[in-house]
């Protein structure tokens, strides 16, 4: 009697063990494909980009404000900066149609790495799924950083370190190379949501959490996108673009043009929260633009 049931018991235990081992794998989601970006969130960030002096709704600190106040858009005339791509934490906000694919281990058929490429300048990321450690603190930093992933339920959680210095907003607000990026790739049918959480001990008062969205777009394709730096506006060797403190003429333009109080335009963690609207309502209106200057 015992012999008759032993194989069945063994089989049941084996199935149970396999089920326990395999359950996280079954929860994995296929992310591969061509994804078209939806631009409905934070539209001013996309396309032409934000205005100078607009720091609203970002948890930036005083150091970040000073960097941004000194920033001069002529930076992009410096040949050394012309071909900088968006870093991993900002690329999804730009022209960010995205392709995702995976590497499979031919033996185990498990995903050992995910890859992403984004339309603007085609930066390629690798997200290692094999549990490898992050590199030494002495290793080089890159625009896309070093990423490892793990499944949390059906969400792909990605942790990225070793990022080059980048930007929180394309008007000079910096993100330091000491920052870490945590992301969740979440698929809902033909929609993909990416939640990004940037923690920067240098320039942020609180974590900066944003979402970006895509829709499956199987007919899309990318074209070659290569940047070759060239002298567009001549400058002396070693020239660096910046404004001295108090001498940036453009800082108040956003506030004056939109009516956003100057204090609110300076951003900070509290400007992210709904309660801030009550405080903002009591602030003085910004001065109007001088008649002969400003944007039309």
């Amino acid at each position: 009697m015992l012999n008759r049931f032993t194989p069945r018991i063994f089989g049941a235990v084996l199935l149970l063990c396999l089920g326990l081992i395999g359950s996280p794998l079954f929860a994995q989601t296929e992310l591969s494909g061509q994804w078209g970006q939806k631009l409905h969130e934070d539209e001013p960030e996309r396309g032409a980009g934000p205005e100078i002096g607009d720091y609203t709704g970002l948890p930036v600190n005083d150091q970040a404000r000073m960097r941004a106040d000194s920033w001069d858009a002529q930076k992009w005339e410096m040949i050394e900066h012309e071909c900088e791509p968006h870093p991993a934490d900002y690329a999804p906000r730009g022209p960010g149609d995205m392709r995702i694919w995976s590497d499979l281990d031919q033996f185990t058929q498990q995903t050992v790495a995910w890859h992403t490429t984004i339309r603007f300048m085609l930066p390629q990321r690798t997200i290692y799924m094999d549990g490898r450690p992050h590199p030494s603190e002495n290793a080089p930093h890159t625009w896309q950083g070093f990423s490892t992933g793990e499944w949390v339920g059906d969400k792909l959680k990605v942790t990225t370190t070793h990022l080059k210095e980048g930007w929180t907003r394309r008007n000079g607000l910096p993100r330091s190379d000491k920052a870490t990026l945590t992301e969740f790739f979440i698929r809902h049918g033909d929609f993909l949501t990416l939640v990004t959480d940037v923690e920067d001990p240098v320039y942020l008062e609180e974590p900066l959490i944003r979402t970006s969205n895509w829709i499956l777009d199987l007919g899309d394709r990318f074209f070659a996108n290569y940047c070759l730096p060239s002298i567009e506006v001549p400058h002396p060797d070693g020239w660096v673009a910046y404004h001295l403190p108090g001498e940036n003429p453009w800082l108040n333009e956003f506030s004056s043009r939109t009516g956003v109080p100057a204090e609110a335009a300076r951003g900070g963690a509290e400007t992210m929260y709904v309660d801030y609207q009550e405080k903002m309502a009591k602030m003085p209106a910004p001065p109007k633009l001088p008649a002969k200057t400003g944007m039309k």
């Binding site: 079954f26 185990t108 930093h141 890159t142 210095e165």
Partner: protein, 366 residues
């Protein structure tokens, strides 16, 4: 939910894979053990396959790391400043010797990497943390045939010992402080100083020693390994602090900026301002052109701010109170230790106050 994938895997295959990895680990550990025991198994080949920044060895409870940089160039971190190790066809070049107390570990790391002789040691400046290990590394190396002819080392025993190369001002600073007897033993001094702007050496590849005048000090050297496409630049760039401008040793802010610009001219990114030529700074991680450019930008901007405040007639105290480094303090700054934010501002202030060079209008260093 679309496209759910994955399977529980084959248990036996997983067990086999784990067993295979365990065996591979044991073999690898055995190889390292043999290397540590002093036989001819070295890490050069394996380390040379690692990507830039890949760690191939840790010593002293992990405090000291040996990393591959690119080509035949490796970096030892954790022994004071970064130490560069370049392996030629027959010999080894070391750039900066590190702290004296760490030199046994440095030697151990080099010996694990290669059995070739240390034939050259280059000091990028006279700073003690860069030169402290000179004697130990030199003794472990091999002398050039004519090293005993160096008049600065007349009468010494040159039966062994790798030559120590540096700009002539490093020898002057270490051997003859004005009006004082040198506090440093002579076996730390450079044995083969050069006085020109360049010195070219061949060690399996063309190696340029370049002297930028009056930068971090007046005796700086940066080293370019042409085929490996790596520069070792000493304290002309330190990611762990603002640049140390040693005014007492001939350092000047404008010379430092000129040196950084000179270095940038030699750097070629591979793609999208990333990788390509790699740079080993005096302290901190392996860098590429973008890192040096950002550092140059920072120094140039702070110099411009301080010059502007000087032009307005502000005193040193007033300039320091204006915090011209504030936005970079979280990256490079320190309020304690041997080189604080205030000391950096003071060095620039005193340097710029002593010359008549004016900040050009419109920002930027023209």
């Amino acid at each position: 939910m679309n496209g759910t994938v994955g399977n529980p895997g084959n248990l036996f295959r997983v067990i086999f894979a784990i067993a295979f990895l365990a065996c591979a680990g044991a073999v690898s550990a055995g190889q390292e053990k043999r290397a540590a025991d002093g036989d001819q198994v070295t890490l050069q080949s394996a380390c040379g396959q690692l990507p830039p920044g890949g760690v191939c060895l840790r010593l002293d409870d992990g405090k000291i790391e040996l990393l591959h940089v690119q080509g035949n160039v490796f970096m030892i971190a954790g022994a004071g400043p970064n130490i560069t190790v370049q392996i030629g066809d027959d010999d080894v070049m070391v750039v900066d010797a590190g702290l004296a107390e760490a030199s046994d570990h440095v030697l151990s790391a080099i010996r694990r990497l290669t059995k070739k002789h240390i034939l050259f040691i280059v000091d990028t400046s006279a700073d003690r943390d860069h030169t402290g290990g000179n004697a130990n590394l030199s003794k472990a190396g091999m002398a050039l045939p004519d090293a005993s002819q160096n008049p600065s080392r007349a009468g010494e025993d040159f039966a062994s010992g790798a030559p120590i190369l540096a700009h002539i001002n490093v020898l002057r600073r270490m051997s003859e402080p004005p009006g004082k007897e040198s506090p440093l033993p002579s076996d730390l001094w450079p044995t083969d100083p050069y006085e020109s702007r360049y010195w070219r050496i061949y060690n399996g590849e063309a190696v340029y020693l370049v002297h930028p005048p009056n930068a971090h000090t007046d005796g700086d050297t940066f080293v370019q390994f042409r085929r490996s496409d790596v520069l070792s630049i000493g304290d002309l760039m330190t990611l762990s602090s603002y640049p140390v401008i040693e005014a007492g040793n001939g350092g000047k802010i404008d010379g430092l900026i000129d040196a950084l610009n000179q270095i940038i001219e030699l750097l070629v990114p591979k793609d999208s301002e990333e990788a390509g030529t790699y740079v080993i700074p005096g302290h901190g991680r392996i860098c590429d052109r973008n890192d040096v450019v950002n550092y140059r930008d920072m120094v140039t901007i702070i110099r411009g701010r301080i010059q502007s405040l000087i032009d307005k007639g502000l005193t040193l105290d007033q300039v320091q109170s204006a915090k011209p480094t504030f936005d970079y303090d979280g990256v490079y700054g320190s309020t304690t230790g041997p080189w604080t934010n205030q000391m950096f501002v003071e060095a620039i202030y005193k340097d710029l106050s002593g010359n008549k060079k004016q900040q050009p209008a419109g920002g930027g260093k023209q």
